[in-house]
Symmetry: none
Subunit: 204 residues, 4 copies
Amino acid sequence: MPSKKEKPTFIEEARRKQIVDAALQTIAGQGYSQTSFAEIAKSLGITKGLIAYHFKGKQDLIASVLRTIIDNQAAYLRSKLVTYESATDKLRIYIIASLEYIETNRAHFVALVDLWGSFTSPEEKRAFNKTFYGPCISQLQEIIQLGQQTGEFGPFDPKILTHILQGALDGVMLQWVFDPNVYRLTDCTDELVETFLHQVLRKS
Amino acid sequence: MPSKKEKPTFIEEARRKQIVDAALQTIAGQGYSQTSFAEIAKSLGITKGLIAYHFKGKQDLIASVLRTIIDNQAAYLRSKLVTYESATDKLRIYIIASLEYIETNRAHFVALVDLWGSFTSPEEKRAFNKTFYGPCISQLQEIIQLGQQTGEFGPFDPKILTHILQGALDGVMLQWVFDPNVYRLTDCTDELVETFLHQVLRKS
Amino acid sequence: MPSKKEKPTFIEEARRKQIVDAALQTIAGQGYSQTSFAEIAKSLGITKGLIAYHFKGKQDLIASVLRTIIDNQAAYLRSKLVTYESATDKLRIYIIASLEYIETNRAHFVALVDLWGSFTSPEEKRAFNKTFYGPCISQLQEIIQLGQQTGEFGPFDPKILTHILQGALDGVMLQWVFDPNVYRLTDCTDELVETFLHQVLRKS
Amino acid sequence: MPSKKEKPTFIEEARRKQIVDAALQTIAGQGYSQTSFAEIAKSLGITKGLIAYHFKGKQDLIASVLRTIIDNQAAYLRSKLVTYESATDKLRIYIIASLEYIETNRAHFVALVDLWGSFTSPEEKRAFNKTFYGPCISQLQEIIQLGQQTGEFGPFDPKILTHILQGALDGVMLQWVFDPNVYRLTDCTDELVETFLHQVLRKS
DNA sequence: AATGAATGAGCATTCATTCAT
DNA sequence: CATGAATGAATGCTCATTCAT
């Protein structure tokens, strides 16, 4: 393990990223239970000792993988959302961008679901949930509350609807991730936008 | 392993069920990665040799666990659906019963998600998906198509809506399974019924 | 690991003893730092998995080794001491038997010194010391105090003399254990008996 | 590793000493088995590569540590002994100084005992013994033989008594090193001086 | 002189699986 | 039917050592 507090060197940073990416691909490709240091190392043509050199342990490595997945997705969503003003537009683009992202980063989602199995205790699972869901949920809830403040959206429980919409997105992505041939993701996008926009815009 | 073709004895059947149940609870409680034969055996007060005797291997055991989860849920849904005639009623009860079932059988869903990690190759994962989602999806799709035939429901792509509704259900259950304190499942039920009934009943 | 509370089977007990003995010999022969499960297993023609099956871990195994060494020696000394009545005789036989025991069980002492290195923290080392030295010291101190009560021995600080005599015994054994050719152990016995009996018998 | 034959530079010499000292403290503090290059390097704020650069290998380093311990003690004893003329005085001061040295350099003795475990083969252990015990024993034996030549001491086997006295010293130090609270080292000093001076001075 | 990236062998430990009893 | 002894492959991890920079 390199020195603790000093800023990491260029080569160090590059290796870490390389290993994290390989880990992510291995998890997505072979499942978490088959993702050993040896397997990751083999896929990179390095030794497993090198992975242990760059990461404090397996937990550290998968935490980094998780971080990467979450941060990437969050950054993508944020970059899309900033260009729109109205809550209606933001909500539409949130749905579209969420599915778009998964379509081009399927491995991320596969790995994410698999990683769930790496947390053994209920406490760890809850923490994992918070880390992963937290940012999405709050981003979405802000949009919905914005819509209610501006009067664009009707009166409904914002928290419940947030979770249902996010749930619908995740559920749809999940099925597609399980089997990409089950439907075209874009067809779902349209239907989801229609269903939920219609629902939030109802005034009575 | 008992003889291949003979019908299983009573005790044989009981043991298998006992072991499958213990496996399910262990997976839900400690996670799949912590679920060894030894762990299951300990929770039953038997030896791991006995588990190996009754099942061809670990894959065989978890396949049985999976079967149990799926069959139980399917049976529950079916028993609820038969008492209703109209597609609208059937759809409402499908949503309600799905969430009801998970609320009283949370361990099943926890185990199900965890078990996803036990499939290593993409092919296995796809097969798992077919086995698990298949029955739910076709049951739901039948209801929706029924509604369109009777004229209760409006004109929309039945397949896509089926997947979106099922996805919304799964997504909502998933979040609740991750953290039971995130919302009351019944609150979601109402909102889901309202959202989707409104959507399918639209005529234009 | 076999069942926790039930009495161990015959074969279980035999294996454990066999493994403990092999561990002791390996430690004495190659040093603790070279004593791996693999090494012990190789010397027995079994697999290292079997050692892990019979012992909870390495700590458990070396604790058993330690126990064996200490108990054996203590039992030997006790069996010798009971046949004598007077403190003078007991003291003489304590010295003689201590060296006798080491002469026929050199490996025990070699292993004992080596095992010291297996305890990393000062607390562990102190505990080790208590476990090992405690029984010897108290046995010896009882003899000396007996001698002072019966009037056989003169007036001196019994605790200090106990430690000095035990120290002399250990030091002499240590040198001989390091290099058996340095002197004949029996020559030391005579001189030690003479030196210390003379010392304790002094009345003024 | 620096060039073989050239005399070492000032900085080279300083580094080696610094590393040897750190190694000694680490061994005494955490035990030999926990003393890795990384651990020593960390305690000095340098990299383990640097240690490998200054020493041929781990064996080389611990040999240097050993040398330091032995030479320091020998130098201390010699400096004390030269100021006395008679064998009786020399013997008394040998005992006193030996215990004095350990009292102020406890870490040296702790490390010494721990280092015993770093020698794997019986041959290495014997060599270690010779290196360590040799100087002490010959110094002590010279004193005793001097006393017999001058007629101060009585007629006894000088070799055996040398070893017994040295053994007593080591044994007493060992117990105190194991647990400094077991007795005050100075109390032992007095008793040891009394016991052994009385013994060597006996004329019959 | 010194660093830090990289190696490769070795470690204790876990576990599904086999099989004689 | 059931046990428990035994295996062997795999896992995460440690560490002395090497070497280009």
